[in-house]
Assembly symmetry: C2
Homo-oligomer: 102 residues x 2
């Protein structure tokens, strides 16, 4: 799913025109990045937490040549999903039971 489809979903939710939903999507994404840049972390209850993580330099390897190299330290944005959207998958053996229950 790409941004266009997401905009359609947002438009369906907000009920307004797609152009408005598109602006809303951009505004939210930009605000998240802004918040991460400013505060270092953005916590959205029930959704997850975006946080800027500093990664130490560490030894890496060029997968093409196999040559060892040093991956420089970098800052990236990590996302920790809220517990609400972690779903425990039923074990394979229970799938039959689930199917029977369902």
């Amino acid at each position: 799913m790409n941004k266009g489809d997401l905009v359609e979903l947002v438009a369906a939710d907000l009920g307004g025109p797609r152009s408005h939903a598109e602006k809303a999507v951009r505004a939210v994404l930009d605000a998240v990045l802004e918040g991460v840049e400013r505060d270092g972390s953005v916590t959205l209850a029930g959704f997850g937490t975006f946080e800027r993580k500093h990664r130490e330099a560490r030894p890496g390897r060029n997968p093409r040549t196999g040559e060892a190299l040093v991956i420089p330290a970098s800052s990236t944005v990590a996302f920790r999903p809220a517990a609400a959207l972690k779903r425990i998958d039923a074990p394979s053996e229970s799938m039959v039971a689930v199917a029977a229950t369902d």
Copy 2:
């Protein structure tokens, strides 16, 4: 930073009332979850990709008791940030140069 602050940023961006921005934030977050559920992944160019990742069951351990246990298979939502928001930190040796340049 919490959801309220994010809403304020979005409101400042959209220019509308905060109540409207709050609805927009909820709509976007909900749409992302909806998209992940539907399609398995949501790609936002310049921001990142949300994708549902299936994690196999694996042996774990209760950190309190040290007792071994099996972590059941689960599905979670992972976020891969776009290359644009990965920032390479200057090496320590360059910090002096940066300081000198700055």
